[in-house]
């Protein structure tokens, strides 16, 4: 195991920065385009009070990619997630997901936030099955299969995240880390092609977080959904993502787009290797630049 880790190739490849990024072919080694934002802008409010949250952002994500969005707080990372999930429409520009423009029609993506929001009156198992009550084709069969096939499906996922036997417990009987694992299961139960994660591990302690990185990596490697992960944690981004996009301060733009080519499965030990640290430092420099230029902007 250790030998493989050391032997894995560390390489970080730069893709074009945002200005020329538009219309570029999808990076090699990836499948068809799953998510495409072109010149998408979002402005909150109107007139004098208008606050630009996202400015002319273009981003292409291939099917099955794991993309992390990092950047200073309030830079529009979550706005991108809301655009992609169809919860919000761009003020201008186009967002295409799964070959269709995002409209009122929902995409049935799996989402998970920092707050696990398990319903306290249901067992973990039933909490995880909640999306099946809503999404077709599961919805029409829910009454018939909830005690058999669907329950087995939920328990199979629970086993995969190390929560075997916890299905019949109630949320208040589980720790924060366990609830967050259940949250991941709920986001994946309806076999979405896309998983949108908004700082899912932000509230956890360092060790639990690292444990969950491995679990999420494992889930991604088995189910292969397209993942868009918003995070503040650069190590987390480096550990999990196959591509990291750095965003500028508000209004957000994509400053840098790097491919992370460390071999998988990645381990926590790898995050202390020189190449990994170098990647971290590079990302850090970008974010610090973005922060300081934003502060100068507000000062002038």
């Amino acid at each position: 195991m250790a030998g493989i880790q050391l032997a894995c190739t560390f390489s970080v490849m730069r893709i074009q920065p945002n200005a020329q990024f538009d219309g570029q072919p999808v990076p090699e080694g990836s499948g068809p385009v799953a998510i495409e934002l072109s010149e998408a802008s979002v402005t909150f409010g109107r007139g004098d009070r208008a606050v630009p949250a996202l400015s002319k952002t273009s981003l292409r994500i291939a099917d099955g990619e794991f993309v992390a969005l990092v950047g200073p707080s309030g830079c529009g990372k979550s706005t991108i997630l809301r655009l992609v999930s169809g919860l919000m429409q761009p003020t201008s520009g186009v967002v295409i997901v799964g070959g269709r423009e995002v409209a009122a029609r929902a995409l049935r993506v799996g989402m998970a936030f920092q707050n696990p929001t398990m319903l306290p009156w249901m067992t973990i198992e039933r909490n995880i099955m909640l999306p099946l009550k809503i999404v077709e084709p599961f919805r029409s069969n829910f009454r018939r299969l909830r005690k058999t096939e669907f329950r087995d499906k939920a328990n199979a996922l629970l086993e995969q995240v190390g929560l075997k036997g916890f299905g019949s417990r109630y949320p208040w009987q589980l720790s924060g880390g366990m609830l967050q694992r259940a949250n991941l299961c709920r986001a994946l139960i309806h076999e979405p092609r896309m998983l949108l994660l908004d700082e899912p591990f932000g509230a956890l302690d360092q060790f639990t977080r690292e444990e969950l990185w491995a679990i999420l990596q494992n889930l991604w490697m088995t189910h292969k959904p397209t993942v868009l992960l918003v995070t503040h944690d650069l190590r987390e981004a480096g550990f999990l993502a196959s591509r990291i996009c750095v965003m500028s301060a508000r209004p957000g733009r994509i400053l840098d787009d790097s491919r992370v080519a460390f071999a998988r499965p990645r381990t926590v030990a790898m995050t202390f290797e020189p190449d990994f640290v170098a990647l971290n430092q590079k990302l850090r420099a970008f974010i610090e630049d973005a922060r300081s230029s934003a502060q100068q902007g507000t000062a002038s």
């Binding site: 919860l87 989402m111 929001t117 208040w172 709920r186």
Partner: protein, 259 residues
Amino acid sequence: MMFGIDIRQKAWSAGLIVLFFVAWELFCLMTGMSDLVLPRPSQVFVTLFQRFPVLWPHIVQTLATTMFGFVLGVALGVALGAIIGVSKTAYDTCYPLLIGFSSIPKVAVVPIFVLWFGSGTVPAVLTALSICFFPIVVNIATGLATTEPELEDVLKALGASKFDILWNVGLPRTMPFFFASLKVAISYAFVGAVLSETVASNRGIGNVMMTASSNFNVPLVFAGLFVLAGLGVALYVLFSLIEGRVTGWATRKNDVIAT
């Protein structure tokens, strides 16, 4: 362990009640207090027992008006609470008016009801209704309004309709608030009914107490008071039990708001 502590706690509570009556009895005996001022509890219980056949129809009357007003109050409260809770705008718009209504002392509206409907059962029911519906409105609205925005996003991203969210999340989340408010509302309805009977009725426990007091039948006044206390506690316990049965999940961890 927990069970043992629970039993001991209950024993202490029961002991305190007994002690209260014993102390009262002893106080009256030692000071030679006239039963025109403060009858001994033993006298009150004897009166209660002797006059029970006469009291019974009044008990039924009071309970009936309470329940009738309560049921109407719940129906109105749930409807109003649901409307207010689902929409933020409705919540903000209606709240000041509701606060205005709720802060009127309900004694003050009884004469108005009597003016409109004459004395008797109708004003008692209406007083019970008007006093008990407010906590239900507030609790239903709060329950609906406190659905986590993240969960709503998760479900909306799955294509859930407003109704899906209300049915699977909003309503179940409201249940503990609702049952907590029922417990409070039934006590309020009871207070409202007795209040109205005392002021303007010729039936009900409230009226019995008024009549007895003007005849200086003080033990009977106190007997009426005991009946009221007993009924009030019984109704509260009944709805607490229902609450525990239906929404036991909520009392484990989350604090339930009851106004």
